[in-house]
């Protein structure tokens, strides 16, 4: 299978400004920064869905925005279809967007209130294809039908749509140009539960039909389990474990992953489960880090954890960054 997206050692720091930064310069210390993404690597094959999970603030959305170059990465490579997106700019980058799309978390905020559904879905076609107006309209109708929006909604404006319809419109916009990779940034977290499963099913159907690859970002392990073939777990700006979905849920190795999975509610009061509980809170992403990112919270901590654990392959396709495995 060919690799569509390969991200290597992606880093994105947000430098701090103000008194703290001046003080650091005064002391000759390295400039303080929020280390949102600190050396993340992963790859997505054609037709594959990679789930990227983690708590809020762990850097998942920053990864997504770097991949789409909505944010400029501090360093690292973002290889899309064999080309480094991190090195592109201007028009060259803009043209790649035909093949690389995104569905945002908030279906309301991500729709321009002054564009109708038709205009919105037509826009990427207008920008990236040489289709004649009539062909464009035909494609818009086709795409809307694919996502399950009726023709009668074509000329509606966002405020005249329901939440589920809005997210379908967002998906329609993302797939209009037949991209190869779609980044889904928590596409269902703003929807209520009854809609969630329908949107998930829709995404799955679209992936199969068009051989799409997804980078699926979520903090909801249940949806990730259903949708993703492989899962990468992020904590504090780095990937701590990556494995095929069934493997990860059956045999989570990293203490953080185990704690995450243990925290998922199970609708069976009799079920006996491993309970691994982390203590404390996520440390500040500003403080320079030494050793394992989970140090201080992990119940299994040893002396070895003072050194930064490398991401090692412990089973085929299963990589973990932990000294204890």
């Amino acid at each position: 299978m060919s690799i569509v997206l390969r991200v290597e050692r992606l880093v994105r720091h947000f430098p701090l400004r103000g008194p703290a930064a001046w003080a650091a310069r005064w002391r000759g210390a390295p400039p303080p920064a929020v280390r949102a993404v600190d050396g993340v690597s992963f790859a997505i094959a054609e037709g594959e869905t990679l789930g990227l999970v983690g708590e809020s603030g762990c850097g998942k959305s920053t990864v997504a925005r770097c991949v789409l170059r909505l944010l400029d990465p501090t360093s690292g490579r973002i290889e899309f279809e064999g080309e480094d997106l991190a090195a592109l700019r201007g028009d060259a980058l803009r043209r790649r967007r035909e093949r690389l799309q995104m569905v945002f978390q908030d279906p309301t905020a991500s729709l321009n209130p002054r564009l109708s559904v038709r205009d919105m879905v037509e826009e990427p076609l207008r920008l990236h294809t040489r289709l004649a107006p009539r062909e464009r309209q035909a494609r818009v109708a086709e795409v809307l039908e694919e996502v399950g929006l009726g023709r009668e909604l074509m000329d509606r404006y966002p405020h005249e749509l329901s939440g589920g319809q809005r997210q379908r419109a967002n998906i329609a916009r993302a797939i209009a140009t037949r991209p190869r990779l779609v980044v889904l940034d928590e596409p269902t977290s703003a929807l209520d539960v009854s809609l969630r499963s329908r949107v998930i099913l829709l995404l799955e159907r679209l992936r199969e039909r068009h051989a799409l690859s997804y980078l699926f970002i979520s903090h909801d392990l249940a949806t990730v389990k259903y949708l993703a073939q492989r899962v990468a777990v992020m904590y504090l700006g780095s990937v701590v474990e990556e494995a095929p979905t069934t493997e990860l849920f059956a045999r989570p190795l990293h203490p953080y992953t185990r704690a995450l999975i243990a925290a998922v509610p199970v609708p069976d009061p009799e079920a006996r489960r491993e309970r691994l509980v982390l203590s404390g809170e996520i440390p500040s992403p500003i403080a320079p880090r030494r050793g394992c990112p989970l140090r201080g919270r992990c119940p299994l901590e040893r002396e070895a954890c003072a050194a930064e654990p490398p991401l090692r392959e412990v089973a085929p396709g299963h990589r973990v960054a932990c000294h204890l495995v």
């Binding site: 967007r97 799309q101 995104m102 945002f104 023709r151 000329d155 509606r156 005249e160 916009r173």
Partner: protein, 293 residues
């Protein structure tokens, strides 16, 4: 086509209709709207609406007080004042409208670029704006007409320049708000060039406060123009304009011809008041917090 019919049937409830209904409920501003429509129409159709040729003296009735033949009286030469006011209204509305529109477009572009790009460009535009605002608007307009002469165009430019800063600030502030919206990111993701993001996606979402500002500014522009002309720095005879007519009338006051300054002055007051009332009403209507009231 069948499909087209389907779409037409399912047309959304018009936003315009709701807006119109709410505007009508506010009696005073609705009246202001009618007054402005009447004034604009009279100015537009002046040659047909005015009862006399504004420059034709009536030798039988110099300085005639308001009466049946000359509704608002005549001036020293026997020219019909109603006709003169109607014709002068064209100049007033043209200059005020031109100045406001020009300032709006220029201010919106500068403000949008400054707000979207930020950085040094923002600094340059905003500091230039600040330095214009440091002058009292009227003194600045006087200075400009004094410097470049007072043709129709120059007066419009002078008034426009004093107005640009308010639009720049307004649009820049709005841009800072909308550029952080997720739909701005979405527009970039889809592959829009910057120019299109600003013009198609962001600027249209900044329009409501601009409409309010422009309506209020129209009133100000008319007032500034009248004041400039009153001082002899605006429109000069033979062209006439309300402020300049008021000035002429004021010099006749010793002869007891009160109608010569009262009526042009009233024309200014009514027009400016109407624009202000309408602007206030629009501000209330377009404020999102007032929706649904």
């Amino acid at each position: 086509m069948e499909a087209a019919a389907d779409i037409a049937e399912a047309a959304p409830p018009a936003r315009g209709a709701r807006f119109w209904r709410r505007l009508r409920r506010n009696r005073l501003s609705f009246a202001a709207l009618w007054v402005l429509a009447a004034i604009a129409l009279a100015a537009l159709l002046a040659p047909w609406v005015a009862p006399f040729d504004p420059n034709l003296p009536d030798p039988e009735a110099p300085l005639a007080p308001p009466g049946w033949r000359h509704l608002l009286g005549t001036d020293l030469y026997g020219r019909d004042q109603l006709s003169r006011i109607i014709h002068a209204g064209r100049v007033n509305l043209l200059i005020a409208g031109g100045a406001t529109l020009g300032a709006l477009v220029l201010g919106a572009v500068l403000g949008a670029v400054a707000g979207y790009r930020g950085g040094w460009l923002d600094q340059v535009v905003m500091r230039a704006t600040d330095s214009i605002m440091a002058f009292p608007a009227f003194v600045l307009a006087m200075g400009i007409t004094a410097a470049i002469g007072n043709s129709l165009l120059n007066v419009a430019i002078a008034i426009g320049v004093t107005q640009v800063p308010s639009y720049v600030r307004l649009v820049r502030g709005e841009m800072l708000r909308v550029r952080e919206m997720e739909y701005a990111e979405a527009a970039r993701t889809v592959g829009n060039p910057d120019r299109r993001i600003v013009l198609v996606h962001l600027l249209p979402n900044c329009i409501p406060p601009l409409i309010v500002q422009a309506t209020l500014a129209m009133g100000y522009a008319i007032l500034t123009l009248a004041a400039l002309s009153y001082l002899g720095l605006g429109i000069r005879p033979p062209q006439s304009e309300w402020g300049q007519m008021t000035a002429e009338g004021a010099s006749e006051i010793v002869t007891g011809a009160w109608w010569l300054f009262l009526f042009p002055g009233l024309a200014i007051v009514v027009t400016v008041l109407a624009f202000n009332l309408l602007g206030d009403a629009l501000r209330d209507l377009l404020d999102p917090r007032m929706r649904g009231l």
